[in-house]
């Protein structure tokens, strides 16, 4: 029996068509895209095609708005640092509590350097308060950075509306669309979004390639200076094989978007319902009405996520956990904390993120496996007792 991979928000398999089209760029087409000879020229043309494929995926007005970077994190950092450097008199940033660490850790660090960062709060479903957001927009703000979709819950944020609000207040807007790109339709030409980050390995391209979309006319300061690659906006010899791969992956993502939003989302719903029906004391976190088609995050009370993952893994099922125990800290993930998920459940969250390669048979196998695993861990847990369920705290640790 094959192993089941349901951790596609972490990374995805490189699509076979993508792999095939990138291979020649390691051996036959190894020219440097910046060289004047025909070796370079051919590669240069392939890059142009990839840029156009990304332009189409993003609905960008010009292909020159696509800058290839090494990953989503680099794109995010470039966007934020560029906005600050380009507008030295603006010392504030607006972002959310539930961003990816690529944004949060950079913002934390900028605070140490004297910048003020406003972290928008979310409610129990992970939704933002746009009134609170509006009140923070001012000419002191250099940049708003809000993720398009959350990696843990799959929640989709109203970034187009938020970008329009920022534009009205004359503030630059960036979105980390690493989870959304390829799964949701994006039309940047008609939006007020100035910058957008995406990462290849989340949409069946390889790791080590990303994109920063930069709307024409946006003030910009490169992160990497050096050669004139990417029109001087991101120096460094182009990672040609990966760029070509990302172009192909973008084309495929567009072609499969309808499938993701119908078949894949139905599989996800079946998985979710199957688990909820079979396991007591568990619930879905986040906003189920506005989320990515492939993601479900389920919190299981009174057990801890890593133990769940290990037992699932033993049965050949790969998922991911919202407990940060895997990072050495014992805290539940910042997203679960921000939504106020009770500690009794926040430690035991499991995220299943599907892709177009998952099948119904796999979903059935996961539904069959999860209840036993949860039950087994609960039988070991001091909290899983009638006492706790009925609200009587029988377990009284000495430093609770």
């Amino acid at each position: 029996m094959n192993d089941i991979y349901m951790d596609n928000n972490a990374t995805t398999m490189v699509a076979p068509e993508v792999l095939e089209c990138m291979l020649p760029f390691f051996c036959e087409q190894y020219g440097n895209a910046s060289s004047m000879h025909s070796f370079g020229n051919k590669v240069g043309m392939a890059l142009r095609e990839a840029r156009q494929q990304l332009q189409t995926l993003l609905g960008a007005e010009h292909d020159s708005e696509v800058i290839f970077t090494s990953c989503g994190t680099e794109s995010d950092s470039t966007a934020i640092l560029s906005a600050l450097r380009a507008q030295p008199d603006r010392k504030e940033i607006i972002t959310t509590e539930v961003e990816h660490p690529a944004i949060l850790n950079l913002c934390n660090n900028l605070e140490l350097q004297g910048y003020t960062v406003h972290y928008l709060k979310v409610d129990k479903q992970g939704c933002l308060d746009l009134k609170a957001y509006k009140s923070l927009l001012s000419e002191r703000v250099a940049l708003v950075s809000v993720m398009w979709a959350n990696n843990e819950t799959g929640n989709v944020y109203p970034v187009e509306t938020m970008a329009a609000m920022a534009e009205a207040a004359n503030v630059m807007f960036h979105t980390d669309a690493v989870q959304a790109a390829g799964k949701l339709p994006i039309n940047l030409a008609n939006s007020s979004i100035h910058m957008l980050s995406l990462s290849g390995h989340k949409l069946h391209a390889p790791k080590g390639i990303g994109v920063l979309y930069l709307k024409r006319g946006t003030r910009f300061r490169p992160l990497l200076r050096g050669g004139h690659q990417e029109r001087g906006r991101r120096a460094g010899t182009e990672n040609t094989a990966s760029i070509v791969a990302l172009g192909k992956a973008a084309e495929l993502a567009l072609a499969h978007m309808a499938y993701e939003n119908s078949v894949v989302s139905k599989l996800r719903d079946k998985l979710e319902q199957g688990i909820l029906q079979a396991v007591p004391n568990c619930f879905v976190t986040g906003n189920t009405l506005k989320r990515l088609p492939n993601t479900t995050s389920i919190a299981f009370e009174f057990i801890e996520g890593e133990a769940l993952l290990l037992l699932l893994n033993k049965q050949g099922i790969a998922a991911s956990s919202g407990s940060a125990c895997t990072s050495g800290s014992l805290e539940p993930s910042h997203v679960m904390k921000a939504m106020g998920i009770p500690l009794t459940a926040a430690h035991g969250t499991l995220r299943f993120s599907l892709s177009r390669y998952n099948t119904e048979e796999e979903v059935d196998r996961v539904i069959a496996a999860v209840p036993g695993i949860v039950q087994r861990l609960r039988s070991l847990s001091p909290y899983w007792s009638e006492g706790v369920q009925s609200g009587d705290a029988e377990f009284a640790p000495i430093y609770a």
Binding site: L112, F302, I303, E304, G305, E306, A307, L309, L310, L311, N313, K314, S323, C325, T326, S327, G328, S329, L330, E331, P332, L343, T344, H347, S379, L380, S381, P382, Y383, F395, A396, P397, I398, Y399, A400
Partner: protein, 316 residues
């Protein structure tokens, strides 16, 4: 995912003594939901002999918390309470063939639960000063609270000081930035500014003679950065002095090291006493070699000569 030893996996997938002991007469509860892990240890202690006849656990926690709890119960079954209290978290980790650095706190929880259970049996009140701070140094499981307290108590002002007092930062260095921030905050609370060291100092083993010490002896200046070429005599003295610095530590553990000869970049020694049979001899040697490299500022290789090799040398 963590790289767990086979033993950890065994005890996670097939934990021993899971569940509460029926008719337990000692219970130790540590941890909480907010801490992210918790352990309840239940024991059945024979009142005559004070021997632990049965031990059981219930854990809310990750894979290594379950494995550590299982290991703990295996380790203490059959021991008297006094014997059991000698078991510490390192014993639990060793029993499991080691835990990843980030997971050492699971073994600490085991030790604490044991102490709590024994105290409960003896009707003692145990004062728990356990506070859960953010983990700063993963290699040595040192949290934010511990670093702050130590900085305040001993008025520390550098990362190196913090490492010396708490071990935090002594291995992979990835926590240095976090330690610097704590220092910055603590010092600024005292109205002082934190001045980071401009470059990382090379870590020399404890008791190792630094190059600077040689300046006194020889009257020559050996700036550590620009290491002047040492004469053979100076080099030999430095090797001797470095070894001398380390010997007391080895002697304390009933071992010793002796310099046999220096042959270019090969430094030949012999190990004595406990060191010869010690399983950690490799670690001792690599520590020694590193100390010599640090002191000499050049790459040298340390070799242990067997008795026969020494004999042959003597015959030359």
């Amino acid at each position: 995912m963590w790289e767990y030893s086979e033993k950890v996996k065994q005890h996670f997938f097939d934990p021993k003594n899971a569940g509460a002991v029926v008719d337990a007469n000692a219970v130790g509860d540590v941890g909480s939901l907010s801490c992210g892990d918790a352990l309840r240890l239940t024991l059945k202690v024979n009142p005559e002999s004070e021997r632990i006849d049965e031990a059981g656990f219930q854990t809310f926690g990750c894979g290594s918390a379950i494995a550590s709890s299982s290991a703990l119960t295996e380790l203490i079954k059959g021991l008297t309470l006094d014997e059991a209290l000698k078991i510490d978290n390192q014993d639990i980790a060793d029993f499991l063939d080691g835990l990843p650095p980030e997971k050492m706190h699971c073994s600490v929880m085991g030790q604490e639960a044991l102490e709590a259970a024994v105290a409960n049996y003896r009707g003692e009140e145990i004062v728990d000063d356990h506070e859960e701070g953010a983990l700063i140094c993963k290699c040595f499981a040192v949290d934010d609270i511990k670093v702050r307290e130590t900085v305040r108590k001993h008025q520390l002002s550098s990362v190196e000081d913090v490492t010396n007092y708490t071990k935090a930062g002594g291995a992979c260095s990835s926590c240095h930035e976090a330690i610097e921030h704590i220092l910055e905050e603590e010092l600024s609370a005292l109205g002082q500014a934190f001045k980071p060291a401009p470059i990382a100092k090379r870590k020399a083993a404890a008791n190792v003679v630094q190059i600077q010490d040689m300046q006194v002896e020889t009257g020559e200046s050996y700036a550590p950065k620009k290491k002047a070429k040492l004469s053979n005599l100076q080099r030999m003295k430095l090797v001797e002095k470095t070894l001398e610095g380390i010997r007391p530590t080895l002697q304390r553990d009933h071992g010793d090291v002796e310099l046999i000869e220096i042959d270019g970049k090969h430094i030949n020694v012999s190990l004595k006493g406990a060191c010869t049979s010690c399983q950690l001899a490799d670690d001792t040697l690599s520590g020694l070699q590193k100390a010599l490299i640090d002191a000499l500022g050049e790459l040298v290789e340390l070799h242990v000569l067997s008795e026969k090799q020494q004999h042959n040398l003597g015959g030359l």
